[in-house]
Amino acid sequence: MSSQKRNKNSKAQDRTSQGRNSFQTDLSAWTVKQGPSNSDSILKHGQANPMEDYELANDQAEDDLQIAVGYFEKGPIKTSRNKDEIFEKHLKTVENVAWKNGLAPEEIDILLNVALSGKFGNAVSARILKCMIPTTLISEDSVVKAVSWLCVGKCSGSTKVLFYRWLVAMFDFIDHKEQINLLYGFFFASLQDDTLCPYVCHLLYLLTKKENVKPFRVRKLLDIQARVGMQPHLQALLFLYKFFVPTLISVSLPLRKKIYFKNSENLWKTALFAVRQRNKGPSPEPLKLMLGPANVRSLKRKWNSHSIIPMLNSSSYTKECGKKELSLSDYLSSNGSFPIEQLQSFTQLLQNIHCLELPSQMGSVLNSSLLLHYINLVKDESVLLRLYHWLSQTLQEECIWYKVNNYEHGREFINFLDTIIRVQCFFQEGFYSCEAFLYKSLPLWDGFSCRSQFLQLLSWIPFSNFSEVKPLLFDHLAQLYFTSTIYFKCSVLQSLKELLQNWVLWLSMDFHIKPVMTSPLETTLGGSMDSVSKLIHYVGWLSTTAMRLENNSTFLLHFILDFYETVCDIYINYNLPLVVLFPPGIFYPALLSLDSSILNQLCYIMYRYRKNLSAAKKNELVHKAKSEFNFSSKTYQEFNYYLTAMFGCLWTSRPFEKGMHLDPKTLEKAGVTEYKNSLNLVYHPSLLSYAVSFLLQESPEERTINMSSIRGKKWNWYLDYLFSEGLQGLKLFIRSSIHRSVPRSESINYNNQH
């Protein structure tokens, strides 16, 4: 075991892996393994490496370190002339290397021994302890050996304190902790020492497992508490004990306590950071129980809860109640269960999913993204029931317009609703509690407070029979809708669009998972489709009326057409047998709009309607038997009517030939005798500016522009110009409906197959 034997060219990296892979401290074995690195260094020396100087310096340092460690291990050479000088030099060497690269497990092993044996005196022990910084890891055996020195009584109190501080700071770098845990009783006994107590508490806090919590230890801690009073370190340890065995001890933490332990890490702060950097990868941030301020909110509420959503606490409380005589299997299972407080990563969740302890208050899962995964999987109905009851009552209790207006409280309620909405988005479905809450509270809603949250909740209402929900929800909403600003109307339409999307998505999934439904009310898909179509018609009615109220606002029309973009694609996108057209009150304002983007959106929607209806027709021809979902010819007629109107206006310049009669005299009075082409692609009010730009682009010098020149070939160029200006909806619409081979607009064969 002589350090001189050690190879001077050994590298720190090798040692690192050594330390990680084997846990022996037998240095001779280690030395043998180091052999091959000789050749490495020889090779290195042979090369003309720019790093050579650095390597050399490193090697030199290593060399010195070995000598220094050997020196400390053997003790000072008595005969040496300038022994203080040599001693100081060696100590400096150790300190430098330690702070720069850290020490190998073996070196730490030796130096710990030296420090705690106290053979160089207190001051030196302290200096050595302060530089016990591992390269990556510390061997558990070294720690156990070091602890054995504490029993001999050779080291002073201050050394002991420093050692415990060191142990706490380096705790995460100790490779194993089983042996150390066996010394639990020894550490616990050290609590007697008042100077050591804070540090030992911290160590025990890190070390304690459930099986370490024993009634006699609880009593001892309470004795100490009685003697020294409420010390933060003691409280933390007691709290941990309570966490593990709530049936033995009860403690409630004061709200404003922040730091539980004196910061033992201060001395090694930079070094610890460096070691973590070196270790980065396998060893994550240490797992510590959440305690103190992180969990405590400032607002103290009635019923002693600090926030609306309860804290995560595992349910060991109820589980252990009444089990006075624990059987062996109970012991095994309780050891096997995984407390949710320690759950920090998805991998942990997967590894412990079979033995996860559920929280004592189910509402707390809302704050834990990991547990939400679990809740989504769990088959246990009681879990959902607990969540349901809690959520229903909390929503009802916290709802702000049942209470006196309180800004602070209002913010909190909004945050709470936001949390719920996030969770609903995560689950991709609404809670029944929220639905019931809406039924109760919507009639009382002012349409202003928590508007965005409320409307989002609305869009997550689970699929239901529209006729039944309407009086509970939509009738109340309609009153607010008609009497509120255009912005409110737009928000409502937006959330109704989301509601429709959610409904058809659920139905499409359900329809394709199990075609025959076993529900109490709507036993057929037809029934469900009826409900969806009623919703669409209802929104159609809301939209038409709002258009009248808001003077055909373009802004509002955008939101309305957004809704119909979802509606027109239900057949293809969601594979559901439903096509509902928009009402004339939407179609005509959109067709005659002054805004080209509206016209473009309308064209796109017409294009999608066409696609959906064609697909439906094709399907009908293939499966004649499934006649239940055939669309009535009325839908096709309606569509063709709209299509004809659009072509009459935009393309053939024969607007409204069918179904609309304009008295020529009226037109004459208005001064518009030539009205026929005034709505085609050139003269349409929303496209006129495009036509002008197009002509100016053609011949920039022209003083007067001849709009009627856009015909024939030029008509086609004009179309290309429009498409290039971003009117993609128009492009799709025209390309799909018109055979472009025909050059003249007059002879268009628009496809009227339906």
């Binding site: 409630s252 019923w303 606490n313 009681s382 009851h389 229903s392 009552q393 239901s464 039944e468 659920w506």
Partner: protein, 346 residues
């Protein structure tokens, strides 16, 4: 023309009562929640109720315990089902709760469970305090102080008392599951701070939720009618109504006391269906009182708010406070309170 003409606003209760099981289980979670939904049938105010009667079950009730519950003012709470509550563990709960209270009172100081502290917590069942066999057993929690000079057989002063019960909880969803105990009505007597501590412990331990149970004027009128309808051998207390007029700087209270026999006579004159009380009769009864008052004082009581009803059977305040006076109709009073509590938790 439009098919969607907004109908007249629906009465307060019927809106929610129409909520029935129209749900289709679609995604897995939804299907699992479907059973939850089935239980979400909102209790509507039935048009008629039974006049409280002496039920047979009441015979088993320990008269001493009943006497203990009477003539005390109780604050009402509704309570969601208790999860994993077990009647066999009451002793254990006593130990845990007393340690919890001790720890709460001396924030930060840890307390050993089972340690001798200066309070004593007793959990005990209230046998027979229920309407039907299906109702779970009611139980009582008492917090007693241990005074130094206390003699051996005398218990200390009661600091706080609370009890949990369910009387004719039939409108509750067919019992949720065996993990849950439905005791929707909680009554507390003692310092509010103690109620908060004990409520917190229950919420943490049994994942339940307490909400204060207020009684609105509508339900107070029902109580007035039902309790007036009760047959009494002799009347110990008067019948009194309290109306509140919201005016500043101080609100004005109008008290209206009637001799209970006169009240009964009035009731008998409006009452038609034997053994039952209907909404119509309740309205008529109250209207008679209003018109009588108006004739004398030219004040329309219907424009004010009814805040308290006291009868020889019981008295109730809109804040959710109740005092039960007549032991014969204890169960009947609790049955109506249970109904209100169930309405609140659903």
């Amino acid at each position: 023309m439009d098919p969607y003409v907004t109908p007249e606003s629906t009465p307060e209760h019927s809106a929610s009562s129409r909520l029935k099981n129209y749900f289709i289980g679609v995604t897995p979670l939804q299907r699992r929640l479907e059973s939850v939904k089935k239980q979400t049938s909102f209790v509507s105010t039935p048009p008629r109720r039974k006049i409280p009667q002496c039920s047979q079950l009441e015979e088993d009730v320990d008269p001493q315990k009943v006497a203990f519950l009477l003539h005390k003012q109780w604050t009402l709470y509704s309570l969601t089902p208790l999860y994993k509550f077990s009647y066999t563990n009451l002793k254990e709960y006593s130990r845990l709760l007393s340690a919890f209270i001790a720890a709460e009172k001396q924030k930060g100081l840890a307390v050993e469970v089972g340690e001798d502290c200066n309070i004593k917590v007793i959990f005990s069942t209230l046998l027979g305090m229920k309407g039907t066999e299906r109702d779970p057993e009611a139980f009582l929690v008492q917090i007693l102080s241990k005074s130094q000079s206390q003699s051996e057989n005398r218990e200390g002063k009661a600091l706080w008392t609370g009890w949990f019960c369910c009387v004719f909880g039939d409108s509750l969803p067919e019992t949720v599951s065996e993990d849950f105990t439905c005791l929707p009505l909680f009554l507390a007597n003692g310092a509010e701070s103690n109620t908060a501590i004990i409520g917190t412990w229950f919420q943490k331990t049994f994942d339940c939720y307490f909400s204060p149970l207020a009684i609105n004027a509508f339900n107070l009128s029902w109580m007035a009618a039902m309790w007036t309808a009760c047959k009494m051998d002799h009347y110990m207390a008067t019948t009194e109504f309290l109306w509140s007029v919201p005016c500043s700087p101080q609100r004005l209270d109008i008290s209206y006391a009637i001799h209970p026999e006169d009240a009964k006579a009035l009731w008998d004159s409006v009452h038609k269906t034997p053994g039952e009380v209907t909404q119509e009769e309740v309205d008529l009864f109250m209207d008679c009182l209003y018109s009588h008052f108006h004739r004398h004082f030219k004040i329309h009581l219907s424009a004010t708010r009814l805040v308290r009803v006291s009868t020889p059977v019981a008295s109730a305040h809109t804040d959710g406070k109740i005092k039960i006076l007549c032991h014969k109709y204890l169960i009947g009073v609790l049955a109506y309170l249970t109904e209100l509590a169930i309405f609140q938790i659903e």
